[in-house]
Subunit: 348 residues, 2 copies
């Protein structure tokens, strides 16, 4: 099952401003050999995240930056190719954190769970049944706390987290308004992800007026993945006691060594928060992982019931990962951004 | 006890920018006569509030603006001068909402409670045992939720609400940092209100660095009465899971018809809120009045125990109320701003 080539992608330089593919370096290394208590994993899929911009920046963040020269970290789905570990058998499929590499040895500490290819497509472990879905579910329910009948607005509404948030809110009985950046994505929002309304913020003209027309009773929960001008327009339509889930800041933080320094300027939210007695709160899923299993169970249930649609944007080959990350950060992806690192085995 | 002169102050014009005394008009009217079920009140003290700027502005707010030509509303302490109401006897002292006038007739609906001049100075009903103290107590405990040992920062730290917040936080076992605008107020903060540290934001130089030095473990709760540059400096030092109570926006909202339109610009808080998983929430005391009695009871207890100091800035004569309000909004007051409208009766 193994062959003699293995590649890894290392972080070479930190970004100065925008993330570019030349920050990374691909190197050829031997396929490792598992020792006692270890498995050899053949990586099948690698997941790319908007948060990776923060991971590689040398700026205050919720985790230490990826060291220069280290293999870029990332969530993966892999096949067990060889095993000296009692808990894993050759041929099993696992979700874990093997990073940007083709082959990895693991003692199990960076394996998160085994997947059942019969229960759901294995790639869903990298989005709806992975950190993306957990983020959407826990950010919405623990910070946003929507009640049936309320209006939930979502930025990057057709993105991986956003489309999950919109569908969870709908499943919870809310009215949903999606904000996205192309007419194709607007169509996805309403026809694929079931949003009650969706707006292309690039062509809406007076975005605030369009939001007001789409949500005449105001926004009760705003799940914000962007910040910036899109969010400024939403903030003008908060309902009394609204909750703003600050999950991402893609529109205001270019990432890299100069991340948010000097800080992005914009309208101060204080008056809106005061007059509407609204709450704006940062959400980091890693703080809530004690509830991750609840989230996955809820998401798996809705997935089986056909209530959760998804779209994947799959790039082939580990070597294409840096360019795929750049596309993701530019908002040019058309679904959850995945890299197919190795061919799936038959029957998966 | 009555005489033949009575004055009222009416709102004549809405502010264009800053509040000025010529927005108001003083008129002479007859002393009213109470009918069946009514009392005649002689107003002793009138309370002035920073929020009055919002009350008179024709801008989105949490209450309808004061109508032009109407008596300016306000919290008062009054003596019952004549009574046709079974619940009130002549000579009793009451706290209520009689507004900017010398005499008022009431059916009891705008009387909040009777005061016991033996239990506490009657003017405390207009601050520590009134809406100011209730605001401080409920804003801090219901939104800020400080725990013993945490660090609580307060803007307008020597002001009516701020000085109460600082002392409540101290009584709850917190470390307190006051931000204020003069060296006299800094002295009040540390010697009168018991702050562990206080900074004059006008002379601190690099305010952010000064805050960082005064609160090396970060700010767990920030009770914000100002917004603006002071708050920007505090936001740079939020601790993980910090809570920002947005109680006032004095520094960014000039008030008047143009209140916050266009909105004040400043550094976006999104990155700080996300990285620190912090919460920023608007607080309006009127939403929490179901807990007002608890707040007054707690404050009265601390007041009896000598844990709550206060300073009053008393102006004499109803006619001086507009100028006193202007001084208050300019931050030139030296304590809770009160207007002595009528002489206290003997023994009060």
């Amino acid at each position: 099952m193994t062959n003699n080539t293995n590649h890894e992608i290392l972080l070479k330089t930190r970004p100065q401003g925008r993330v570019t593919s030349d920050l990374f370096e691909r190197v050829e290394v031997p396929v490792p050999t598992p020792g006692e208590g270890e498995v050899l994993l053949r990586v099948l899929f690698l997941s790319l995240e908007p948060a990776m911009r923060g991971w590689i920046a040398d700026a205050p963040n919720y985790r230490d930056p990826v060291p220069l020269g280290a293999v870029m970290p990332g969530f993966t789905v892999s096949e067990v190719a060889a095993s000296e570990h009692p808990d894993y058998a050759v041929g099993e499929i696992v979700a874990g954190r093997q990073g940007w590499r083709e082959w990895a040895v693991s003692d199990g500490s960076d394996i998160d769970r085994k997947l059942d290819p019969e229960a759901a497509p294995i790639t869903t472990a990298l989005h709806l049944l992975g950190l993306t879905g957990i983020t959407a579910y826990l950010g919405l329910t623990e910070v946003g706390r929507p009640k049936a009948g309320e209006t939930v607005a979502v930025s990057t509404a057709a993105g991986a987290v956003g489309s999950a948030v919109g569908q969870i809110a709908k499943a919870l009985g809310c009215r949903t308004l999606g904000l996205t950046g192309s007419d194709d994505k607007v169509r996805d929002c309403t026809s694929l992800y079931g949003y009650d309304a969706a707006l292309n913020y690039k062509t809406a003209g007076d975005l605030s007026a369009a939001i007001g027309a789409a949500a005449p009773d105001g926004i009760d929960v705003y799940f914000d993945n962007t910040g910036g001008a899109i969010s400024d327009a939403v903030m003008e339509h908060l309902a009394v006691r609204a909750r703003v889930v600050v999950c991402g800041t893609m529109a205001i933080d270019p990432g890299g060594a100069t991340a948010n320094d000097p800080p992005a300027m914009g309208p101060r939210p204080n008056r809106q928060l005061l007059v509407k007695r609204a709450r704006m709160e940062g959400f980091l899923v890693l703080d809530h992982m004690d509830r991750a299993a609840d989230a996955v169970a809820a998401m798996a249930g809705w997935l089986r019931e056909g209530k959760l649609a998804y779209r994947e944007d799959v790039t082939n080959g580990l070597e294409a990962a840096p360019e795929a990350l750049v596309r993701l950060l530019a908002g040019e992806n058309t679904g959850k951004m995945l890299v197919r690192v190795g061919e799936e085995p038959a029957g998966v």
